[in-house]
Symmetry: C2
Subunit: 439 residues, 2 copies
């Protein structure tokens, strides 16, 4: 796998100051440190081109080795044409490539991934790799949701003998809800009912976490070495860790340690129905304390990159997987990670990954090698800090120009990472032309 | 499987008269007879609800038998929320249901279908059915493309022991093209380069038809009893039949019959490069004549429903499969059908279906039973004819209101089929409420 994040970021602490709000509201309140953003030189196609190009180059994958290319995104600049068709330009003359876009809010990346894994297991598999690309440009209008934006794209190669096999056992929860949706088609901004969305995120976690443990025949989160969650912002992720422990407690007090059982005693399910606890501040507080050690041990190792780039929607869970590879490197082999993917609307799936050494000797795809290729620290340190004013200017530029045709982007190329693809121009027929910035 | 088409249609002959164009321009020039359309009471969610509800009822499928529900469409009324989440309301308390929307022009239905087939074959399959729903509301602005619209939705149940198994052998062609796309996000209308789109449709057919024969180890279209194509309008479909014969000729003159070889002699590949023939009127004319018998025998039996309802985009190929079931009934068992799915942008896949009797005795899913359930003649005869003026009024109503919120539809319920779902209202937060018209 490889991850792409844009060249520029804004620090949440700087945003707090610029927005004239109490210090810590974004850094501690949301749990986010920095937020990636793009101006008018990049769109969903270009960030995916950058991720794919980088992955193929780093691992020496030839275009003809790809038999499927699937995209997950909710950053639509066309209601019909898939970003996959733009990515075909990177595969040379190899056109025998299945797949298109999977769409349902932040769930599209997981849908694409699970589809590709099933393809490799199916009778139709032709021996080649599947390539799954997911990512988004998450932007919000001025107001309290704006600091929960972000941008990133993840490219993942799917095939046999994987160092990160996806469990066949998984569990899904889907329901109809208007928690986060995009009916204003001309706008990049979503309509969001934040309280409802957090509630359905946690309800989906309840159902799919308990469901996965049941189909696995396991009894508590103790069976997982790491916990990875879809990450709109880190504060919700730390809540999710607590929620898993709470679910363990609800299923059986005997499965959790004595201190936790004692702390949660006032919320025994026969006293307080679990479905009434999604906004229970007392429980929140108790869980925050009770889950702090679990968060630090099992979740933080996969959380640091999302805190640095913000929400990448369909890419978010896989950004966290990349962070886990980065912090654990070869040490990840033999360890398991619980994965919770959530897309508003809503669809959520849990599965697990049991990291291992590939059986083929000399495989290029060891956890160590992937961590090396990700090279996250170096790449994060090469980013460019922007002021809150530069950030606001970039978002206003997107707001006023993102669907114009013809349009020539005005941002200088220096705002695009070396090696990244960018929009050269958009003609009067909305045809977009892309180029790659030299490394 | 089941198919839904709207209550109203307009006759192409009436449109010709109203548009003041030469008689036969639509009926013969496009090869279309009638066109389905909806006013402001139906949207992509409601037509899919109608198809799903009808399928589950007709075959007595309980909600808990569904483990996956996948949608293919390019009629997006939300850039984030999948129509699948609306369909969850039809599955009662069963929320453990994978899947979301597959998107790439008219290819989304095929992507959803192939994903679901792979899921049933995968280690993650839990023994339940997958439900694939595809369909669109195809509308064009006033002008020459308008009579190529249409509307329909198809729901298909996927599982083992199928009477219509999808071949593991298939072939795909994907390339980046701006032939038909929807960058004007607020509009229901596409941007279309008709000549380019026909050319890429035929080029994709060349690659995937030849590719499929090669992976099957077959040498000509003689190996298929029936030919089913994506059907924007019937004239292109009849061209596609000719193109298959031309490809047989290009590969080997000895594989086609003597008359055909003689008729195509001026277009031997060493005289005229095949890639230069997409707009060759002489070849078109020769192929039309030479393929007339093949069209009548192998393609017409699956073409009649699309001629009656128009283009249903992602549903079109499967509307043709339904028509084939309707005309062949139990006689389809033991016969094979070539299938060509095309979505602009572009992605195309060929595969074959070898119809058979289910091995389970007493299976509800025989070709005969599906044909009975489709009941196409009766349902087509219950439709209501609209005048060209009523059709134009309905499309103007959609044009001016389709994304408004709040909005209360103005069409009377009599314009919706009995048993169909319809929009009751849309509130100021764009929340859509649906109801089912009594049977």
């Amino acid at each position: 796998m490889d991850v792409y994040f844009p060249h520029r970021y804004v620090a949440q602490a700087d945003l707090e100051e610029a927005d004239g709000i109490p210090k810590g509201k974004y850094e501690i309140g949301l749990g986010q440190e920095r937020m990636s953003f793009v101006g008018d030189r990049e769109d969903v196609n270009s960030i995916m081109m950058t991720a794919v190009s980088s992955l193929l180059t780093k691992f020496g994958i030839a275009p003809e080795q790809i038999g499927r290319l699937e995209v997950g995104t909710e950053t639509l600049i066309d209601k019909s044409k898939s970003a996959k068709t733009h990515l075909m330009d990177l595969l040379g003359g190899n056109t025998n490539v299945e797949g298109c876009t999977s769409l349902n809010a932040c769930y599209g990346g997981t849908a694409a991934l699970l589809n590709s894994v099933a393809w490799v297991e199916s009778s139709a598999w032709d021996g080649r790799y599947a390539l799954v690309v997911c990512g988004d440009i998450a932007v919000y209008e001025k107001g309290p949701a704006r600091p929960t934006g972000g941008c990133g794209a993840v490219a993942m190669l799917i095939g046999p003998d994987s160092p990160l096999p996806i469990s066949a056992k998984r569990y899904t929860h889907a329901e109809h809800a208007y928690d986060f949706y995009k009916p204003n088609l001309e706008s990049e901004y979503a309509m969001v009912d934040g309280h409802l969305s957090n509630m359905i995120y946690l309800r989906s976690l309840d159902v799919t976490y308990n469901g996965l443990l049941e189909v696995m025949g396991e009894r508590s989160s103790a069976c997982f070495d790491f916990l990875l969650f879809h990450s709109p912002y880190n504060k919700l992720v730390s809540k999710a860790v607590g929620r898993c422990l709470y679910n363990d407690f609800v299923r059986s007090e005997d499965e959790v340690d004595k201190d936790l059982a004692e702390a949660l005693a006032p919320w025994k399910p026969d006293l307080v129905p679990p479905s009434s606890t999604y906004a229970d501040r007392g429980l929140d507080k108790a869980l925050k304390q009770a889950s702090a050690a679990s968060y630090k041990e099992k979740c933080a190792p996969g959380a640091y990159l999302s805190k640095q780039i913000g929400n990448s929607y369909t890419g978010a869970l896989y950004v966290n997987l990349a962070a886990l590879l980065h912090t654990q490197r070869g040490g990840l082999e033999g360890k398991s990670a619980f994965c919770f993917s959530y897309g508003s609307g809503a669809v959520a799936t849990t599965f697990s990954i049991a990291a291992r050494a590939p059986t083929a000797s000399g495989s290029a795809f060891t956890c160590e090698a992937i961590a090396d290729a990700l090279d996250l620290n170096a790449r994060l340190s090469q980013r460019q800090a922007a002021t809150p004013e530069e950030f606001a200017t970039a978002l206003t530029l997107r707001e006023t120009t993102h669907s114009l045709a013809p349009y020539t982007p005005s941002d200088p190329l220096e705002l695009v990472s070396p090696g990244a693809y960018y929009i050269e121009g958009i003609d009067e027929r909305h045809h977009r032309t892309y180029r790659q910035r030299p490394h």
